[in-house]
């Protein structure tokens, strides 16, 4: 059999696993293959606009010949693991994507999902989010390997590991910037049993028709005002402090104990994890449910994630947008 040269070089850019021609996603890690034509060109290293050699690309990713900024792989990250999928997008206005997404399946039905949002006023916010998400993901995956995992405890350990990872992010002092810091929302799921943990204002929603609801309570100024009965949701949301968060991960974090909820749904549904770049445009569970209900029955998780992210982009995309969708089927309700 002939071996054409195009087949021999096919490998996943993230985990380097071998790929088959025509693969759209890596079988092993779920990374989308060949997201954009210019990213493939970039693999050659040069400028995607004028073809200048890789040496011409400066530290800020500007081409020193034609000035065009090169897209970063972080600008758009997509992961599809069939049962769960997610999209992280730089949005339309931010210079960098400081959100991070971690998705992993373990064994037959174990899934770990983490969304982190680097705090834009902090140093190395993108790195803080990335490391926190990956560190938490590793702990949750480890727990899923065990037979008798207590998900709430695993979540607490995962957030502890994420906090440690953020502390280790290198930084140099700048008076106008905070220590590296980020928010985190995590989900760990197996056999229809779920634990959600969070610190900050990244959110989790349970979406199942009329039973749709927000599972998390923001650690934010706006939420505190509402909880204290001082302002209505609308009033608090309109205040310029609405997005000031009261808890986060990082060196100056008030504490690193996550808030945790567990659930065991009796009906099939979807778990949606997201950063505020998404929920700014659809804050209510009902709004997200309406968007997902508009999709044909049996729509893949990755398509659902695309749909939600694209809606936020279309609405303005003022912040980084990250959303993960996890299909949850209670045991014995497997219709497939």
């Amino acid at each position: 059999m002939d071996m054409s040269s195009s087949e021999t070089v096919l490998a996943c850019g993230t985990c380097h696993a071998a790929l088959l021609p025509g693969d759209r996603y890596c079988e092993l890690c779920g990374t989308r293959i060949g997201t954009a034509p210019d990213e493939e060109t970039r693999a050659g290293g040069g400028c995607t606009a004028c073809g200048a050699p890789v040496e011409a690309i400066d530290g800020d990713r500007y081409c020193s010949r034609c000035g065009v900024r090169q897209r970063s792989p972080q600008d758009r990250q997509e992961i599809d693991l069939v049962v769960a999928a997610g999209v992280s997008d730089r949005g339309r206005l931010r210079r960098r994507n400081e959100d991070a997404l971690h998705l992993q399946t373990v064994g037959e039905s174990g899934v770990a999902v983490i969304v982190c949002d680097g705090i834009s006023s902090s140093l190395s916010a993108d790195l803080a989010a990335r490391r926190a998400a990956d560190a938490a993901g590793a702990v949750l995956a480890e727990a899923l390997h065990g037979e008798q995992a207590v998900f709430a405890e695993a979540t607490r350990n995962a957030v502890g590991a994420a906090q440690q990872a953020v502390l280790e992010v290198p930084w140099t002092s700048r008076s106008d910037r905070d220590f590296p810091s980020c928010t985190l929302v995590s989900a760990v799921c197996r056999d229809g049993e779920l634990a959600i943990g969070w610190v900050g204002d990244s959110r989790a929603y349970w979406i199942a028709g009329d039973d749709s609801r927000k599972l998390t309570v923001d650690h934010s100024w706006a939420q505190e005002q509402v909880a204290a009965g001082l302002l209505s949701v609308q009033e608090a949301g309109a205040d310029k402090r609405a997005h000031s968060i009261t808890r986060w991960l990082g060196q100056d974090a008030p504490d690193d104990e996550p808030q945790i909820v567990t659930l065991r749904p009796t009906e099939p549904g979807r778990l949606v994890l997201c950063s505020d770049g998404l929920w700014n445009y659809t804050p209510d569970a009902a709004g997200i449910a309406a968007q997902l209900d508009a999709l044909p029955p049996g729509t893949a998780a990755i398509t659902a994630a695309h749909s939600l992210a694209d809606a936020a982009l279309a609405a303005g995309g003022h912040d980084n947008i990250t959303v993960a969708v996890l299909n949850v089927t209670p045991p014995g309700r497997d219709d497939q």
């Binding site: 004028c50 500007y62 020193s64 010949r65 034609c66 000035g67 065009v68 900024r69 339309r92 303005g316």
Partner: protein, 425 residues
Amino acid sequence: MTTFTAEAYQNEYLPAGGGEVNAVVTVTGSAAVPAPTSTQAAEIIIVDVSGSMGSPRAKLTAATRATAVAIDCIRDGVMFGVIAGNDTARAVYPQEGRLVAASPQTREDAKQAVAELKTTGGTAIGRWLALADELFAATPEAIRHAILLTDGRDEHETPAELEAVLTDCEGSFQCDCRGVGTDWEVQELRRIATTLLGTVDIVAEPAGLEADFQAMIERAMGKATGDVSLRLWTPQGATVAFLKQVAPTIEDLTSRANPVDALTADYPTGAWGDESRDYHLCVHVQPRAVGEEMLAGRVGLMVAGVAVSQALIRALWTDDEQLSTRINREVAHYTGQAELADAIQEGLEARKQGDEHTATFKLGRAVQLAAAAGNSDTMKLLAGVVDVQDQHTGTVRLKPRVQDADEMALDTRSTKTVRVKKPGS
């Protein structure tokens, strides 16, 4: 030594198909030591001693007195000299065709020599500058500055002769020019000052010379770093529509570009002390697709051949009109200030040509712009040539009789700008 920072102000968003990028870059130099005594400096004072300086007698008296005050302000160790100019140029002090180090003794001797100056002959400014250039040649390491004082037109040489000398002197030393009385040409002195990176102003009353000379020398002595250039990089396919200094005065630097390579050029800015200057850059780039971003320019400072600070000018294409139609306030402010300077110069020119309609329209527009920008100094000067009826609509009437000095003051100072008020200050 001076430390520099460069900061860019702009609206980086462009509409689909748009390619004009505007930015104001503020460059701030802070001298580490307030009195940079370690910096080598050279100073030459050029005094007009043509026949007209003797009538009235007060002109020469004021000029020699002002020169004496300036000499007193030259700090010890600075190499200095005095040139007397008419249709030729003569080194008055020292007479040996070189500069001397300032000391209590040499300053005293110089003042003595200046006190004995007599007026005779015509005016050939190019020859004065040529002698200064020759004297400065012995101090290539120093920050070189000259003051030129004249009361008349450059009548005793051809414009081509003056142009040739200016070309030789450009980049060699900086020169502030002052016209005394009202018989000199604003355009002529402005041309000299602009080429030699200096200022131009009128000293209508000879009595005002002393304070002005003192201020000029003190400013010159405050310069800690010589030969600073702006280095501008623009991407392939882009054109620099203009690069102007817009504060403290408007100077168009566009034609002064010294190419470094195909994409980079240096623009000389002279010597710097503790000061801040603003530059307005306008670059035309090739439009890119919505969502793409381009580096439209990089403005850096070159001090003695070393890059010290830089600001990035960006272009981001968006289909959000709210973003792309917003005009940055710094850019808007200086666009208005540049229009103000043009309106004044064009208005005065029209008035000279007897075109009252254009003069009224242009000077009215100038009043409107000066009022909007809060440029009260220019407002006062405008009030010398027009009667303001409504500053908001720019309704004015030309004054039937205008003092020459008022008109020349408005002309010379038309390029002085006010800076953007920072919010909360």
